[in-house]
Symmetry: C2
Subunit: 704 residues, 2 copies
């Protein structure tokens, strides 16, 4: 995609001399951006537009000028296909289709879009759009869009799924003096999508921070791969809209019901090291902090203030954002004690009190920044009688220059009185907010990104041996029976074949057989009806617990069948499952559901009958999953506290739970026919686990 952002020639198809038209705006924007390559207006009915020689079509332009690196299209939708074909014929590799009227307007447009994509795909043409604003690169420089606000040159790449939002942000950014390296309006994402532009920004030497406004992700797996790689090199900060979208997932499992759309994105972003912001304006505040500050070595914050109240507010924010208040070395405190007034607070937050001038800030700052227990600083200032905002700002800049390795974020509170101080800080690369909370918040993101980059080497899931043939056979058997849900006995067998301890379970179709099975697996046993479309077995007397003799088993068999006949006379049972009754253990749930965009999604949490009530669960996408992430997902839940042992209990076997999760992940990955898995409860013992109740659902035939 190199010549996409740095084309040597750019053609505007649909270039127009009419100032109201998009084809004119685009052309003038390219000219106005200072683009130094060849600009080629294309329009069959003009000879010259905006002082440039105009060509009737791409073919003639290429014949005369040689290659065209980039073609921007602003002709009506119906004419776009022809342009794409011309590009294909003439070897043009980068196409920006600004034109609207495709998928977004209905069936016909969708067909047109499909045709466009086909041409581009088969000729390896990079397609941006259709229905987009275009793109910009301030370093090339080029503004190949119809947005007039060419941003200041900077180091932020901004990728936006909304064109209008992009326009608004570009306009706003000039006022805020925020610069960009690249800007891309994604449009319909028919060809290139967010993953491509994140990858491009990762490779762009002028980009240091990548921002995205996204409404969805189209190619989930590629997105995850790209984001994982990129986030270790440059911060990727995403605002995801559409959190209120009701999940369209038709779920027949606990796992499916609990894994909402937004929760899946949250999981994906976390696993890929993406920094997610929840408010639009935070995108840009954060970007400026990441651009100007080094990453802290840890999460220990020192707060310096000239007033108690703001210090408390900042300390509250430190706690609520999961940061730590730095504890100073004795030397730091002694040094401050010697030179600060007696009323000053020397512990963190350091309060140099209301009559502090710049020199006192300077002195305290100098001590604090050198303390090895301090990873970064939040500096607060309120305008009081003798406060010197400008000089204090200069002092901060001075200390920062001599100790550039620790991040500093400031909050100068007040209006006019602190304005020149705040301005001086910003000009010298120290972010300055108006209130303490956003300062702390931005530090929290810096610290999170540090952790993320430093996270230990990935430990791939182990290779497990399993009987692929037999599992496939079970799945195929159910499918040929038109059953979407495996029998409990089949589910238990599948888990066993995957190496997961499951309570032995077999399907009996006669009372005698039930007794035989019970004798084989050992008493006591549990018996459960297996019949089509019966969801709540207990409600119709389909479950019998704690059966201890042959006679009890035989009677239970007859009773269960009789109960079914009584409640649902037209339903014929498949049989009755006979299951070894396990010793109770701590109850967890492990589940899996398939997400349309991101594939198999693993769930862990507190099990039992109140799973939906308590919703104490965590998720991970299976793609690229590693062992550390499995441990993390357990630690995120309250179930972990239960496993660790509360009220003096001995701990449960967390390693066995990790192993089970890993095996379920492999099962999901290797058998895409499986749509959902619920293991609830998974009994967790001091040593080992047992899958007591297993429900495996297959994909509907005909769905991918």
């Amino acid at each position: 995609m190199n010549y996409f952002f740095k084309p040597r020639q750019v053609a505007v198809v649909g270039a127009s001399a009419n100032r109201g038209k998009v084809g004119n705006s685009v052309l003038r924007n390219i000219i106005g951006s200072g683009y130094s390559g060849t600009i080629v207006p294309i329009n069959p009915s003009a000879h010259e537009i905006e002082g440039l020689k105009c060509y009737p079509n791409i073919t003639e332009a290429v014949q005369e000028l040689g290659a065209l690196d980039l073609v921007v299209v602003a002709v009506p939708a119906a004419a776009v296909i022809g342009v794409a074909q011309e590009c294909a014929k003439n070897g043009c590799k980068n196409l920006v289709v600004i034109t609207a009227g495709f998928k977004e307007v209905g069936k016909e447009g969708a067909a047109l879009e499909k045709e466009l994509v086909e041409i581009c795909r088969s000729h390896h043409i990079n397609l941006l759009g259709p229905n987009c604003l275009g793109m910009m690169d301030t370093h090339t420089p080029i503004n190949a869009s119809f947005a007039g606000d060419f941003p200041l040159r900077g180091e932020i790449a901004f990728i936006s799924q909304s064109g209008a939002l992009g326009t608004a942000i570009l306009n706003w950014s000039r006022q805020q003096k925020i610069g960009f390296s690249q800007f891309v309006s994604l449009g319909n994402k028919a060809g290139l999508n967010e993953a491509d532009f994140i990858a491009a920004a990762a490779d762009d030497p002028n980009t240091k921070v990548i921002l995205c406004y996204l409404e969805n992700v189209v190619d989930g797996e590629r997105f995850m791969d790209v984001a994982r790689q990129t986030s270790r090199r440059k911060p990727v900060i995403i605002f995801k809209a559409g959190t209120s979208e009701a999940g369209a997932r038709a779920a027949s499992s606990h796992t499916g019901a609990l894994a909402g759309n937004d929760r899946t994105y949250e999981t994906v972003f976390k696993q890929c090291g993406i920094l997610r912001v929840r408010r639009m304006e935070d995108l840009f505040a954060l970007a400026t902090v990441f651009l100007s500050q080094p990453l802290p070595k840890g999460d220990r914050v020192a707060i310096l203030t000239n007033a108690g109240g703001p210090g408390i507010i900042a300390a509250d924010a430190v706690e609520s954002r999961g940061l730590a208040m730095a504890r100073f070395c004795a030397e730091t405190i002694e040094a401050m004690r010697a030179h600060l007034p007696a009323e000053a607070n020397l512990l963190n937050p350091v309060d140099v009190i209301g009559d502090a001038r710049a020199d006192r800030y300077h002195f305290a700052l100098e001590q604090i920044i050198q303390d090895p227990n301090v990873d970064g600083l939040i500096i607060l200032l309120t305008p009081q009688a003798v406060t010197q905002p400008k000089e204090t700002a200069e002092a901060i800049v001075d200390v920062k220059e001599r100790h550039p390795d620790k991040p500093i974020v400031a909050a100068f509170m007040g209006g006019e009185a602190v304005a020149d101080g705040a301005e001086h800080l910003r000009k010298n690369g120290i972010p300055c907010f108006s209130f303490p909370e956003p300062a702390v918040e931005s530090f929290a993101y810096l610290s999170r990104y540090t952790k993320l980059r430093e996270s230990t080497a990935r430990q791939a899931l182990p290779e497990f041996d399993f009987d692929r043939r037999r599992i496939t056979e079970i799945i195929k058997g159910a499918m040929s029976d038109h059953r979407r849900i495996l029998f409990a006995s089949e589910g238990a067998e599948v888990l066993s074949l995957m190496g997961i301890p499951a309570a032995p379970t077999k399907l009996a179709t006669t009372a005698d057989q039930a007794v035989e099975i019970a004798l084989e697996i050992g008493f006591p046993v549990v018996m459960k009806l297996e019949a089509p479309n019966v969801l709540h077995k207990s409600d119709l007397g389909g479950v019998k617990l704690n059966l201890r003799t042959e006679q009890e088993v035989a009677e239970a068999y007859h009773e269960i069948i009789a109960n079914l006949h009584h409640h649902l006379p037209d339903t014929v049972a498949y049989g009755v499952e006979v299951q070894k009754m396990d010793q109770p253990g701590r109850e967890c749930i492990i589940g899996m559901t398939c997400d349309q965009a991101f594939g198999p999604l693993l769930m862990f949490g507190l099990g039992g009958i109140y799973v939906n009530l308590l919703q104490d669960v965590s998720f991970r996408v299976v793609r690229g999953l590693d062992l550390t992430e499995l441990q993390e997902m357990i630690r995120e839940t309250k179930a972990y506290l239960l496993l660790k042992g509360i009220r003096g209990e001995k701990p449960g076997d967390v390693e066995a739970v990790v192993d089970t999760l890993a095996r379920v992940a492999v099962l999901a990955r290797e058998f895409p026919q499986i749509n959902e898995i619920d293991i609830n409860p998974l009994f967790v013992y001091e040593q080992g686990v047992s899958a007591v109740d297993v429900k495996i659902t297959l994909r509907k035939v005909g769905t991918e």
Copy 2:
């Protein structure tokens, strides 16, 4: 307190001609604020200061001028007592002590402060401070503080526990063009506190919105009474700092452990109808919205936008803030369909699309605002090719003027391009933000305040009959035994005396007696050791369940005593509790703990052994509690879903739970000797409840 904010005369004790001194700043601030009453500098060593006749002391001033309504003190701490005595002698009723050096500097200062408070209390002098900035009233007008930034005249009262923060905000407010009616710096709150100034602002005809920055509340019960009354008249918006303060509560109960300091404030604010903000800057953004907009009739929001992205962002915010997206009437949609372009989205969010000029906004707005299903509007604008921000703003103002009864909040995104439109809105009383989320957020507060004001008439707790004498006897008995925790049998009796069904429990001191009790209350029974300082009875074999015969009971008695002797040879048992073993029900917890500031605090939630793990609990302060609040506190928990019946269960007896909560509240209110109560579990049946395990802890002797 009328003459506090509107004094006819004001004296400045410690007035100084020296421009660097506080006593000079205060004097000049009063003069500079345009105060029209008599200004009286007091300083024994000057005849005239800042052109005003100076008096040597208050007595001489009063002799010559008559009364002094307000005395502002800026003399050294040691001299303040003398001034207060002079005030007392001369009938001065309002005293503002700016001087620092009291409680905040240690023991000596605290003694001085106590003396000051004594004088003021015994002479009914309103005391603000010491150690404060002073106060302002822009309508009087008077600036009786040493803060130079006299704010613009407005309708917001701002009460700040931090002087420096106050200064910063005053300075900032001038830049933001935010006006205030009153400003108070609370200082040490030795005399007047937040409750007094909230009450004063409630009565001030110039104040429409009350803002507070608080670090703590000193008189919890009065605060609650004042806040409850005030919040129904005017919005009270509070930012509470110090959320990270570790709770200093020494808790021996679940309830005590779960009721953290910040959680208590959250509960108090909710019960009093206070709007709490979590970020400092929201205080002021909200205040301007409350000042300019009417309250919505409900929570149904319509969104109008010219671009999809911002519409989605706003819709997300509507959902996450608990608001509802309005569903338009058919007529509204039809009217819009007739005149808006085919590509427009007519459902909520209404998207008038990118080429909308002011007239299209005007038309759509006119339709939407008249829709009876719409309670308020969020209007979004992004600058696109033909967008008319200024004219659109005018259109909004026009529609708003003709339909003033529905609140409108705008977000104009962009910089220069939308600046004049945004300015026009603000000038005409329509709040305009830069991003959609804060616009929706502020609407959410409007809507919450509506609900709060409309909340149904309060239903006081019923009067219960109970045997006060017997309960007092039980408590006294335990105290004279030096027991802080009542026996389980005593706890059960206290609950029974309060009319709460509790499993019959009696203390046996011999095996024979245990058998007798069991025969009396009926089998099966549970037996539990009762011995001093034994917390985990089960761990040392002190609990026996499901005892069904006389022999089992007798054996259990001996075993329990033997187990104690084995584990703790030096401990002598009080005896063994014999308790009727109840049928299991759904397990809830009801608890009570005493908060230092706010008194008894009631808790309800999911019970059982995992209370601390699940933390599914809600709280209410007992003071002023009503029945509706008890129902609400149940509905806030997941336990409520459990009681309603999940997975087809029949519902539990919620009314009996409400009744139990009410009786526990009365118990706590009527017996202040009780410090904590845990009823865990409370079994809830289809009909009725039973308190199975009861722990009642008394206050330490010597504490209040």
